[in-house]
């Protein structure tokens, strides 16, 4: 709780003295950033993070599968109605990995080659944790080691993955806090938030000061009447419309509404102009929702100079991963879309010659039970994710690939995986690469990080 109280103390301090001191108007984040991102002061570089959130809880056991021998037999026996035929798995041979051979889901041909070429890596059995926990502790019940509240609930686990604070009520997310710490250093002159979402409102990009900016796959959308400067032929009408949409108002919800309206109108001009004056994205993207979002990310990356942004944080999403039923068909379709979209994005980033500055990772609220329910699988806990980009030390597995069977050391029941890597460790790795290297900054971004083995220095997948 130290984090919350120190936040509160700082806020109180600023409220008390803000109007008297030079701190007046200084955003909280700027102060935080001053604490210790000295290493970043000299940087004259560019970096972007892209979070691809898979809503519904991707099924991990069919995403990466032990592909031979008794391990495959265990997998097959655990979910005979769902198991992918051995011959259809897409083999990967990660460097340094000595466990049973592994294959990717057949729909992930492009991911297979990105892993093979060292561009992508696997994060094995990662999930929400308040503390490291063993199976014995899990079986020992609640009193043994605290676990995240409301495990196996979509909404709660989405929230906890995104806040990075599964042990408390939280009002910010870890990419938002990363934005708090970095935006004033790297993007001091940008009129656009460091956190940009093409996937709708989310928690992960909410900061103390950082407010996520929403953009459509087609770009920033203008209020037509304001763009033309006339409402039904009247300039006065357009001016009135602008006032009603953007003037500050009294009332809790009116205030919120008007703030959004103001951001929408003011930011649109900046973004549209920046996009119009930036090199076009020429790679052909598939006509799917996720590909359209990633295409927009590529356009915003291309517009980074015109946006005055040396750091960018993006959120995109794909829904439909709640495979209680029809798993075999539906997961194949979802992953196929994802794989094609990520491949197009990778091609475009390479074409822009910026691959080593862009790191993309997948996330999903939970993995799923290994046990089948007939035509699908039920909510689980830990799952596997991908990370890719030119800075990724790829063709590796980070974390511990779990045994795929029942009653193993990682089984929380019916093959729901007890995570061996926490979201905190992923976050620390990304934050350090992104320029938040100071321990105070890292503590702000992932306050629980030091509870986990790689919480101090990260998992080492970024170079």
């Amino acid at each position: 709780m130290a984090y919350i109280s120190s936040h509160a103390a700082r806020r109180r301090f600023m409220q008390q003295f803000g109007s008297l001191s030079v701190l007046a108007g200084t955003p909280f984040a700027a102060n935080l950033a001053m604490i210790g991102a000295a290493s970043a002061q000299t940087a004259n570089d560019y970096k972007a993070l892209v979070c691809v959130f898979l809503f519904g809880g991707n099924d991990d056991a069919n995403l990466i599968v032990p592909s031979s021998g008794s391990a495959y037999a265990d997998y097959m026996n655990a979910r005979p109605s769902l198991a992918i035929a051995e011959a259809n798995l897409r083999a990967i041979t990660p460097t340094g990995y000595t466990g049973t051979p592994l294959g990717l889901h057949p729909a992930m041909a492009n991911m297979q080659s990105m892993i093979g070429s060292g561009r992508a890596a696997v994060l094995a059995n990662i999930g929400t944790l308040t503390n490291p926990i063993t199976r014995a502790q899990w079986n020992g019940g609640e009193s043994s080691v605290a676990v995240p509240a409301q495990l196996f609930s979509h909404s709660d686990q989405q929230g906890q993955w995104q806040t990075g604070l599964p042990d408390r009520r939280a009002s910010t997310g870890w990419l938002g806090r990363m934005g708090d710490v970095t935006s004033s250093i790297f993007n001091p002159n940008s009129g656009v938030s460091i956190c940009m979402s093409i996937g709708g409102n989310n928690m992960i990009q909410a900061g103390e000061d950082t407010i996520q900016y929403q953009i459509t796959p087609q770009g920033a959308i203008a209020v037509g009447a304001l763009g033309n400067g006339d409402l039904y032929g009247s300039a006065a009408g357009a001016q009135a419309l602008r006032r009603l949409l953007t003037d500050p108002r009294a009332g809790m919800m009116e205030r919120e509404w008007s703030k959004i309206g103001k951001r929408a109108v003011e930011t649109e001009r900046t973004v549209s102009a920046a996009l119009a004056n930036s090199p076009a994205v020429t790679t052909a993207f598939p006509l799917t929702g996720i590909a359209g979002q990633l295409q927009m990310v590529a356009r915003m990356i291309s517009a980074r100079s015109n946006l005055n942004q040396r750091r960018q944080i993006f959120f995109v999403q794909q829904g439909g991963y709640d495979f209680h039923d029809n798993l075999v068909t539906d997961q194949n379709a979802r992953l196929g879309e994802l794989d094609a979209a990520l491949a197009a994005f990778n091609t475009e980033i390479n074409r822009q010659n910026i691959a080593s500055s862009v790191t993309t990772f997948t996330a999903s609220e939970f993995g799923r039970a290994l046990r089948h329910n007939g035509r699908g699988s039920d909510h689980g806990w830990g799952g596997h994710q991908f990370v890719f980009g030119g800075a990724v030390q790829g063709n590796r597995i980070y974390g511990t690939f779990p045994p795929v069977a029942f009653n193993t050391s990682q089984d929380a029941g019916n093959g729901r995986l007890i995570p061996t890597t926490s979201v905190d460790e992923l976050g620390v790795t990304l934050a350090r690469w992104f320029g938040a290297t100071d321990s105070a900054a890292l503590d702000t971004i992932l306050p629980n990080r030091l509870r986990f083995a790689n919480g101090a220095n990260g998992m080492g997948f970024l170079i």
């Binding site: 009002s171 909410a206 003037d247 009294a250 809790m252 509404w257 008007s258 649109e268 007939g374």
Partner: protein, 667 residues
């Protein structure tokens, strides 16, 4: 003696007469006695209320005040809006506090955004008059009630209620009448006919096909069906018992969704226990949450029952995640921690109950179970139990056990498992507050007081005649509660809710009697991010609805632990696209729907009369004078005689009203 605000005004007026005091007194004193208001107590509490602090924290260190101070404050909110911007907000609270400290003149401070009384002298004059406040007209009260209870007010609805006094008795009678008003059509019949009742008489009238047909019947009933309370109630229920065509096994079946819409409408005024069973046994829900054809466990293959429905019926449809008090606040254990309502073992146990359900309508053969029989696909009848697929093992959940059933199961035994489970869920102590609070949020306000939730939940528990789950009693309690009806709440800075995009469209359709030349409401797609609503009926992204009931936008609202669910789909993109949608729709209509603006054209040379009229109809009189002036000036800026000037004036007035924050935030 505690005085009502009216009594104290009367007394003050009397005092002014007898003592020859220059003015009446503003009732800033919040205590029960006759003590004068003091800045460090009454002023402090008022200031806190104006910043959204409620309950016991608002009284901290206010030593002379008792817990009635909040109710007293609420009873005077419109009078305390000293700068006249419609809301008793922080600016008013500070001004009052300064006034009580003896500050006068410029030291009092200026009025806030969109204030009528911008200067300290105007505010001082208002205080000197005893803070007269504002009160609603009968038509405004009627319009406000209909905004909460229907898809949108119409002039005939407003005038009828106003003529009856637009008071509690009138509203209560209206509710009773609505309970007995049938729908104009059934969704099912619309799909079968491929159009409205009279479609055969209209060219292109009977050509509604695919899922678009369900969209048409949805909008036709929302806009035109006389059973408006049922329509609004059913929509609220559809946002709890969510089915969707998105990422769904039922993405293209118009009859599946029509039948589900009918089921929610038919049972909206029934019993919640019935509703729970109708939803559980509905083939559309069975497909969406995959409990249809869910099979019992099979040790041979290691298969376990699908847990999907077991989890979501608890988390979303009935008891929620946390044990609740009757007032909707979370129960605490001995260590002060929240108490989960269930754990994974409950889900595993309950999942066995929801096995063995498939198509209803006849034999329980495996062919029918699989849907292979001719005519077995029946969206219009409840799922039935196929005992051979129903789990016979012991089922433990929520402290209840359905014992193992030896021998060959019968359908009656399987039905009994389901009955026991639904009874347990229905009777759980969290169900009444969980459902009641959500219904309040859908109709009235996002942040009801615990007392309001408790009053509604009490009606859920017992309708007054010993019946639990009587939805008529619940809807009546939601709408007739003092917190819903009290016009002082119009000035409560955190009261109310954001109108969701679909309801904004509903208001336009009804207010201007938009009618389609084809006879069909061909509103098929409202999702275009550039110029549409970003919300579409039956198109929720998941069973978690378009927005969660506990969503709060990060920042000011989340930080004060309030919620604003509809803000989950409100951001730069949807705000912009809504503005474009309104500008386009008001002027061009929607599809072949054309509105009737004749009433407003009649005032084409009198902009203030036009805006006054729209203010009552669309915003129950809540447009502040400053907003009204912006709109009137914009209308008058269109010169008489110019190209399309009459249209321009009417469109401008309507568009700007529908973009005003006073319209968008329903109080």
């Amino acid at each position: 003696m505690r005085l009502s605000p009216f009594q104290s005004v009367a007394l003050s007026a009397l005092a002014a007469l007898s003592l020859n005091v220059a003015s009446a007194q503003c009732p800033f004193s919040l205590d029960t006695g006759a003590a004068a208001a003091i800045a460090t107590d009454d002023g402090l509490v008022l200031s806190r209320f104006a910043s959204g602090v409620r309950g016991s924290p608002a009284l901290n260190n206010a030593t002379t005040l008792s817990s009635t101070a909040e109710a007293t404050t609420v009873s005077r909110l419109r009078r305390f809006d000293v700068d006249g911007n419609g809301v008793f907000d922080q600016t008013d609270g500070q001004i009052i506090q300064r006034h009580l400290m003896g500050f006068r003149g410029t030291a009092l401070g200026d009025g806030g955004a969109y204030a009528v009384r911008l200067t300290p002298s105007l505010i001082e004059a208002y205080i000197a008059q005893g803070c007269p406040g504002r009160s609603m007209t009968a038509r405004e009260r009627a319009s406000r009630f209909l905004t909460q209870a229907t898809w949108g007010p119409t002039w005939s609805g407003i005038d009828t209620l106003a003529a009856a006094g637009a008071n509690d008795a009138a509203f209560d009678a209206w509710i009773t009448a609505q309970f007995n008003t049938p729908s104009m059509d059934s969704h099912w019949d619309y799909i079968a006919r491929k159009g409205p009742r009279n479609c055969a008489t209209i060219p292109e009238g009977c050509k509604a096909i695919f899922i678009n047909a369900t969209m048409e019947t949805f909008w036709q009933q929302a806009a035109q069906s006389p059973d408006q309370l049922r329509q609004r109630a059913a929509f609220a229920l559809q946002q709890i018992f969510v089915v969707s065509t998105v990422n769904s096994a039922i993405d293209i079946q118009p009859d599946a969704h029509a039948s589900f819409l009918d089921a929610t409408a038919t049972n909206a005024f029934g019993n919640f226990r019935t509703l729970l069973e109708v939803v559980t046994r509905h083939p559309t829900m069975g497909h969406y949450l995959s409990h249809m054809r869910n099979e019992k466990e099979d040790p041979a293959t290691g298969r376990t029952p699908d847990e999907n429905y077991a989890r979501e019926i608890l988390q979303l449809f009935s008891i929620g995640l946390w044990e609740l008090e009757l007032d909707g606040t979370r129960k605490k254990d001995a260590s002060g921690r929240d108490i989960p309502t269930y754990n994974q073992n409950d889900i595993i146990g309950l999942a066995k109950v929801f096995t063995g359900l498939s198509w209803g309508g006849g034999s329980t053969s495996e062919e029918r179970w699989r849907g292979w029989l001719e005519g077995s696909t029946r969206w219009d009848i409840p799922l039935q139990m196929y005992p051979q697929f129903h789990s016979a093992s012991e089922k433990k959940f929520l402290g209840t056990t359905v014992p193992a059933l030896p021998g060959t199961l019968t359908q009656a035994q399987a039905d009994d498992s389901l009955r026991i489970a639904l009874d347990r869920i229905f009777n759980h102590s969290s169900t009444a507050p969980f459902i009641s609070k959500q219904l309040i949020k859908r109709l009235v306000t996002s942040n009801p007081s615990p007392a309001y939730v408790r009053r509604v939940a009490e009606k859920f528990v017992n309708n007054g005649s010993g019946v639990r789950g009587d939805m008529k009693a619940v809807w009546r309690a939601v709408l007739m509660d003092p917190e819903a009806r009290d016009e002082q709440r119009l000035a409560d800075e955190s009261f109310g809710k954001l109108r969701e995009p679909l309801l904004r469209l509903g208001v336009w359709l009804r207010a201007f009697n938009a009618t389609p030349s084809s006879g069909r409401f061909q509103i098929w797609n409202l999702e275009d991010p550039i110029d549409s609503l970003g919300q579409n009926p039956m198109r929720s992204p998941s069973v978690f609805n378009f927005y969660r009931p506990d969503y709060a936008p990060p920042g000011a609202i989340l930080n004060r632990t309030a919620v604003a669910p509809e803000f989950q789909i409100t951001h730069e993109t949807t705000t912009t696209s809504y503005a474009n949608f309104v500008v386009n729709t008001v002027s061009r209509g929607l599809s072949d729907l054309q509105p009737d603006y004749a009433r407003y054209r009649a005032n084409i040379r009198n902009a203030s009369a036009m805006v006054d009229d729209l203010n009552v109809l669309l915003a129950y009189g809540q447009l502040t004078p400053a907003t009204q002036k912006i709109i009137v000036d914009a209308v008058n800026a269109i010169p008489e005689g110019g190209f399309q000037w009459e249209n321009g004036r009417v469109y401008t007035a309507i568009v700007l009203t529908m973009l005003a924050p006073e319209f968008l935030i329903q109080r």
